[in-house]
Amino acid sequence: MPGLAVSTTINGDDVEFLCQAEETLLDVLRDRLGLTGAKEGCGTGDCGACSVIVDGRLVCSCLVLGAEADGSRIETIEGMADGETLHPLQSKFLEHAALQCGVCTPGFLIAAKDLLARNPDPTEEEIRFGLAGNLCRCTGYDKIVRAVQDAARTMKGV
């Protein structure tokens, strides 16, 4: 089958690709574009490891078709740091040891970035419900919540 031509902006760069109608955005990012930061933990939108932001909206990229992304602006974990400077969430995740195996981490960071963009001063409960779409099996979430709380304080300049 001839591929579908898709034009997007990914992490600020213009990116064009061909994909099959059945391919998900996650397949395209990982297998066609070499952006393997987003992970496939389930392929059914239950684990959040493939989280990316499309046109300002947090999505599971396994539930979006590659072809649907035409004309959209996509942010992935690969674009989260500013050159050598880590995003405060990235720094705080390291400082608080908010990761063990690290496979869920890109999804958590993207989801937490989206959460703080919408709610810069979340309560613990708002963080817990805001990140309830991301599964972590290693940490018990304690250190993740603390890292997000600390990043929120840092980002507000407190």
Binding site: G37, E40, A97, I127, R128, K143
Partner: protein, 754 residues
């Protein structure tokens, strides 16, 4: 050179600090490469066809139509994986599990596999494979499987460990027994006896990263395997044996591992990927779907356990016994045996007996899950212990303190304990503010203890000193939760240099000697011991080099705070030499500087924990909310305390999921009904409170720094702690895990909890 591993008290500089891990930046920027993040040139996509039947004879497999499909490069069945196991029953079971041989033994059992140019073609090809099954009666429940008229999985399975050998086959693979004393006499001395039966359902390790590998076998019989695994040396051994390759010619590289918890300790699809690659003549990438992971990898045992414990009115336990039936999937294991060994390990008992039965069922092959088999046994025993304390009218913590094992106690599984942490964790719990936190309506508090053996094993480590004096530490134990940080701290401590000058990496199988896998909480324990040994060897080399640089006898060189110093009046004014100084001169003093270590890390100190949990149960819905949770555990010595806390919290969270919600649900047809994260729901962030931790440090006498493994014990107490809390909240004793809302409502209605 002999290595003295005995403990010496010392003041640490690096060990005990909390630096950022060396693999951290890669993991927060998406650069870390996990199993599915790697590709080889010209690679194909592998996919596995799985049995839809719980138990079926495979009469015929017709692969011809799949083979003819454009883009398909190889199709394999069991015929492409001939039996080379030479009578090794354990390896035969692993082979049979990788690809069914004559019979499909569970829903999800692999029966054929394809390699194709892309995923689309591979999926189409699977649909073109025709398997002719004769469906057989199945049994998935552990109690049903032991009944005399249960469908038999194996006609040649005669229960082992029984004398005389049974004359009829059954689904009980083996019987084991542990204990000492005279339990009949012990029960006669008891004033109160509790006797109850408990059940726990099957759970999955639930690692977020599905099994994934890229395999390449060349025409010359050499091969490469990139894989997420807890033990790449073990995978190499398994794959080489099953495919008839030379061990030295198969190079296995462990990717970053996205969680394992025991589920990545033996091969599942890797031999299939290698066989596909061999047949296709191209590399093959094989990644399980989440459904594959649930249906065909990992799960722990489902169990059925009877416990009887008797005590005098003063709180002394006089006798304890347990009968434990554990499912092993369709193959024999030692799951019930581990349950029997751990069941009463927390207590100092005069009369104790535990009997384990390994039961085969038409479910996926059971794999280790974090302190395998101990949580279920602890659930049963700690529930009964709690009930006994209540009946005697004694505080459950005090009751446990009175009966706790201590140094010199003969354990229920045989050995006599050295210095151990059960008493101290209980004393810490007694004093913990959590025990005084107020409880409201429908709320209850529970506590429970847990034990795990810990393991040491074969370990090989290289420590290489670079020309600039910085250090590369090559270890062979896969880093599952931050061990590269811990091991870098240990190398820095031993050499006397800053943590920032050490970089730990996990070496592949071609560049380092054999290592057992990261299991039994051995990663930091054993590799830190090997690291200390390698660092001490490197220090000896550096002392020789310093002697050469100074042109003095090596006996006059000492190592202190990361510096070579000359001793004695004659040489005392020589300036000290740092690692950097010595490394810079290496080319002229004898060449590269390295320290090696090959050891069997004996003496893993046993581990104990006590947990406290507060819950609130909604009497209308049966839903349970965990309000407060506290873990107290002995770490021996916490090398990187933040990651030790992480292990405590992670194990507790997995235990909470197991206690309240997680379970494999099978239909009447023997098919798994909830093979996805939507229906097999692990705890999410909003389900849990903060998990408080308290690290105790009772040094392990068999490790230079006193380190004990910390990874597994934290999953042992939660099932019981939460069951005790829920039982206290609702006033009805809960005996079936998970305590899902329907089971709690049924218990409240006074019905049988099912």
């Amino acid at each position: 050179m002999g290595f003295d591993a005995s403990y010496t008290a010392q003041k640490f500089k690096s060990v005990g600090s909390r630096p950022v891990r060396p693999d951290g930046v890669d993991k927060v920027t998406g650069r870390a490469r996990f199993g599915a993040d790697f590709n080889m040139p010209g690679q194909l996509v592998g996919r596995i066809l799985r049995s839809p039947h719980a138990h079926a004879k495979i009469k015929k497999i017709d692969t011809s139509r799949a083979e003819k499909l454009k883009g398909v490069k190889a199709v394999i069945t069991a015929a492409d994986l001939p039996d080379l196991t030479d009578g090794n029953a354990e390896m035969y079971d692993i082979l049979d599990n990788c690809m069914a041989r004559g019979k499909a033994l569970y829903d999800g059992h692999a029966v054929a596999a394809v390699a194709a140019v892309d995923a689309q073609v591979a999926r189409k090809a699977l649909k073109l494979i025709k398997v002719d099954y004769k469906v057989l009666p199945h049994v998935t429940d552990v109690d049903e499987a032991v009944k005399p008229k249960a469908p038999l999985l194996h006609k040649d399975m005669f229960t082992g460990g029984v004398d005389p050998k049974p004359t009829k086959p059954s689904n009980i693979a083996n019987r084991s027994q542990y204990g000492h004393g005279d339990i009949e006499k012990g029960f006669e001395q008891a004033d109160v006896i509790i006797e109850r039966s408990y059940k726990t359902e099957q759970t999955h390790q639930g690692y977020i990263e599905p099994h994934a590998c890229v395999a390449s076998v060349n025409a010359d019989g050499s091969g490469d395997l990139w894989v997420c695994t807890q033990g790449h040396f073990v995978y190499r051994q398994h794959c080489a044996e099953l495919l008839g390759l030379d061990v030295s010619k198969l190079r296995v590289t462990s990717s970053e591992i996205g969680g394992g918890f025991g589920g990545k300790t033996h091969v599942w699809a890797e031999p299939v990927a290698l066989a596909l690659s061999r047949k296709a003549g191209r590399p093959v990438k094989l990644v399980m779907t989440r459904e594959d992971v649930f249906r065909a990898s990992g799960p722990t045992s489902a169990t059925s356990i009877d416990v009887k414990i008797g005590a005098r009115k003063d709180g002394t336990i006089t006798a304890a016994s347990a009968t434990l039936r554990y499912s092993g999937g369709p193959y024999s294991g030692m799951w019930a045996e581990l349950g029997a060994m751990t069941a009463f390990a927390c207590y100092d008992l005069k009369n104790v007996r535990s009997v384990g039965y390994e039961v085969v069922v038409n479910r996926p092959k059971t794999a280790a899950y974090r302190a395998p088999s101990a949580p279920m046994a602890a659930f049963a025993v700690e529930s009964a212990v709690d009930e006994l304390a209540h009946q005697i009218g004694m505080d459950p913590v005090k009751f446990r303190i009175k009966n706790a094992a201590k140094e010199g106690s003969k354990s229920s599984y045989g050995p006599v304990y050295g210095p151990i942490g059960i008493g101290p964790t209980l004393e810490a719990v007694k004093k913990h503010p959590h025990m005084k936190a107020p409880l409201g309506k429908n709320q209850g508090r529970g506590m429970a203890c847990g034990f795990w053996f810990n393991f040491g094993g074969q370990t090989c480590t290289d420590l290489n000193i670079g020309a600039d004096g910085t250090v590369t530490l090559a270890v062979g134990t896969v880093d599952v939760g931050g061990s590269r940080a811990s091991l870098s701290l240990v190398a820095a401590e031993e050499l006397g240099i800053p943590y920032s000058q050490v970089k730990a990496v996990v070496a592949d199988t071609a560049t380092l000697g054999y290592n057992d896998m990261t299991d039994g909480s051995r990663g930091t324990f054993s590799s830190s011991m090997a690291t200390i040994s390698a660092a001490r060897n490197a220090i000896e080399v550096m002392k020789e080099r310093a002697a050469r640089m100074w042109e003095i006898p090596v006996e006059n060189v000492i190592w202190e705070n990361g510096q070579a110093k000359a001793k004695g009046k004659k040489y005392g004014n020589l300036p000290q030499l740092s690692v950097k100084d010595i490394a810079a001169a290496a080319g002229n003093t004898g060449g590269p500087i390295a320290g090696h270590s090959e050891i069997v890390a004996d003496g893993a100190g046993v581990s104990f924990a006590t947990h406290i949990c507060d819950v609130e149960v909604d009497p209308e819905t049966g839903a349970t909310k965990v309000l407060r949770y506290t873990v107290v555990q002995d770490a021996g010595k916490a090398v990187h305390p933040t990651y030790v806390e992480g292990q405590y919290q992670g194990g507790a969270a997995q235990g909470i999921g197991w206690a309240l919600n997680e379970e494999y649900i099978y239909g009447e047809d023997g098919r798994l009904q909830n093979a996805g994260f939507l229906d097999y729901r692990i705890p999410v962030c909003s389900d849990l409170p903060m998990i408080d931790t308290q690290i105790l440090e009772i040094p392990n006498p068999n490790h230079p720094y006193g380190i004990r493994g910390v990874g597994e014990t934290s999953i042992v107490p939660p099932l019981a702690a939460i069951a005790n809390a829920v039982s206290n909240a609702v006033g009805v004793r809960m005996t079936h895990i998970p305590m899902s809302p329907p089971r709690i409502l049924a218990a409240l209605d006074g019905e049988t909890a099912d």
